[in-house]
């Protein structure tokens, strides 16, 4: 997503969901990442339920193996989505971290 315009539009959407809590409904650990995500791998991707009937798919950060379970409480945070190339606008987006 290196179009600055797309990043700009997306960040407006993202601002609404910062600090939302949810629980993990499913998880996986991506060990063979797509291009651009190499520096972050391996990382968990989780499906979480936000409670109002809404669900979200997001990367789990600041994690330990014990957090990868159905029912783990998490909160949304803003992080760099990927490390951009030196010329690109930096994409910030939603990830989730465990609530102990």
């Amino acid at each position: 997503m290196s179009s600055p315009v797309k990043i700009w539009r997306n960040q407006k959407e993202v601002a609404r969901l910062v600090g939302a809590t949810g629980v993990i409904v499913s998880w996986t650990i991506v060990r063979v990442p797509p291009a651009d995500y190499g520096d972050q791998a391996p990382y968990p991707v989780v499906l979480l339920s936000l409670g109002n009937g809404k669900r979200l798919t997001a990367q789990l950060v600041d994690w330990e193996p014990r957090h990868l379970k159905h029912g783990q409480r998490v909160v949304t945070v803003i992080r760099r989505v990927t490390q951009p190339n030196t010329d690109d606008v930096i994409p910030y987006g939603l990830k989730v971290k465990p609530l102990s």
């Binding site: 997503m1 997306n10 409904v25 499913s26 998880w27 996986t28 650990i29 991506v30 060990r31 063979v32 990442p33 797509p34 291009a35 651009d36 995500y37 190499g38 972050q40 791998a41 990382y43 991707v45 989780v46 499906l47 809404k54 669900r55 979200l56 798919t57 997001a58 990367q59 159905h70 989505v81 990927t82 994409p91 987006g93 939603l94 990830k95």
Partner: protein, 391 residues
């Protein structure tokens, strides 16, 4: 509906370094025309199923591209629906015949994936998912891994049971000279293969492949193929009796259910209704096993087995060639064993089933196959296409 399969052909699937997309198309189409006893001039339109030509090969406009390559001056279309592109191309071809627009239509499914680095292919395949899933760093196997985990927790499906899907499909592929893989696997092989995205391992995943398949469908009952003597009207013509498509949300997070692919169920329900048939009538099926877990979902969502019970059935040999009393699944080797050139798969499935119904499937022949079902899925279940064929 009265749609006849006039001719079929497929190329070998695999890492075909010295074969270009044009060469793949020519081989498949020449084969299908020859099988039908037709020439290019007999075809009224071309539908091309393909997903990645633009993202990877920088070539869009495939209708025109392949029409020119094949020497056709007819209407030509590219149809895209991620991994369901092939099935959707066939569906559209059938619709055009039913609408009375064209009489005889060529469907070409073609994909060239091995020219590019795996990371770039992985990124391109995520074009099948949602923006949110891409931003999360999910890969296509990652999405199915999320589904697998839910199925495992809900129904007790095990990694070993998932592995047995790969074992079965390699057993079948072993008998298919066009399959990408001919080697046999054991459950242990699969379990010991490297983790790609927990719980899916390398051997739970279909490969990156090149390949093309072609079908000629017609609404025309006139006899054709006299040189081959194989295609006749009447009781040995292979007919497509149902063609149904259903869609669901693009991303997993927005699905109503994570334990079924609702698009599969809806497309299947519609197809069965169109054909006036049910799951018990199906003798042979090609289903969309992009990952081992996907076959488990498919057999349940297509109504072959109760929800939560397919894994055990597959492990037991209930749908294996030579063991099954009732239904054989993925005699071609499926996506796992035969390979998965994305846009070609949906077409190859119908090629395989046509051979099965004709009785020309050689070592992988399912005895007395009379009714067949093809199941093709796009993305993590956002699109599903079901075709039913009868002898």
């Amino acid at each position: 509906m009265n749609i006849y399969v006039a001719g079929v052909a497929t190329t070998k699937f695999g890492e075909l370094w010295d074969v270009s997309p044009r060469m793949l198309a020519r081989e498949a189409v020449t084969g299908a025309l020859s099988d039908a006893g037709l020439s290019v001039g007999d075809v009224d339109a071309l539908f091309v199923g393909n997903m990645l030509s633009g993202l990877l090969g920088r070539q869009e406009h495939l209708g025109a591209f392949f029409a020119e390559e094949l020497g056709m001056k007819t209407p030509a279309f590219k149809v895209e629906g991620a991994c369901a592109s092939g099935g959707l191309a066939l569906h559209n071809a059938i619709n055009s015949i039913l609408a009375g627009q064209y009489a005889t239509v060529l469907v070409l499914g073609v994909e060239k994936m091995t020219d590019h680095k795996p990371e770039d292919v992985a990124t391109a395949l995520m074009g099948a998912g949602s923006d949110e899933e891409r931003a999360a760093g999910a890969t296509f196997p990652g999405l199915y891994a999320l589904l697998a985990r839910v199925h495992m927790e809900e129904y007790g499906t095990t990694e070993e049971e998932m592995a047995s899907v790969a074992v079965k499909n390699h057993e079948h592929a072993h008998l298919n000279p066009n399959a990408q893989f001919q080697n046999l696997l054991t459950v242990e092989h699969v379990m010991r293969s490297s983790k790609i995205t927990d719980p899916l391992k390398l051997l739970d995943c279909s490969p990156i492949s090149d390949g093309a398949s072609a079908i000629i469908v017609t609404g025309d009952k006139r006899p054709f193929g006299q040189t081959q003597g194989r295609q006749e009207t009447g009781k040995n013509a292979i007919r497509i009796v149902a063609s149904a498509v259903a869609t669901d949300t693009l991303g997993l997070a927005q699905r109503k259910s994570l334990t079924e692919l609702r698009a599969t169920r809806e497309a299947a329900d519609r197809a069965y209704a169109q054909a006036g048939l049910g799951p018990d009538d199906i003798d042979v099926s090609e289903v969309h096993d992009c990952f081992t877990i996907a076959e488990i979902f498919a057999l349940e969502d297509l109504g072959f087995f109760r929800k939560g019970s397919a894994a055990a059935q597959i492990t037991r040999g209930s749908v294996s060639l030579g063991q099954s009393k009732r239904l054989v699944v993925n005699p071609s080797g499926g996506l796992k064993g035969c390979g998965h050139p994305v846009g070609a798969t949906g077409v190859k499935q119908v090629v395989e089933l046509t051979e099965q119904l004709r009785g020309t499937a050689g070592k992988r022949q399912v005895p007395r196959a009379r009714v067949a079902l093809a199941h093709n899925v796009g993305g993590s279940g956002a699109t599903a296409v079901v075709h039913i064929l009868k002898r």
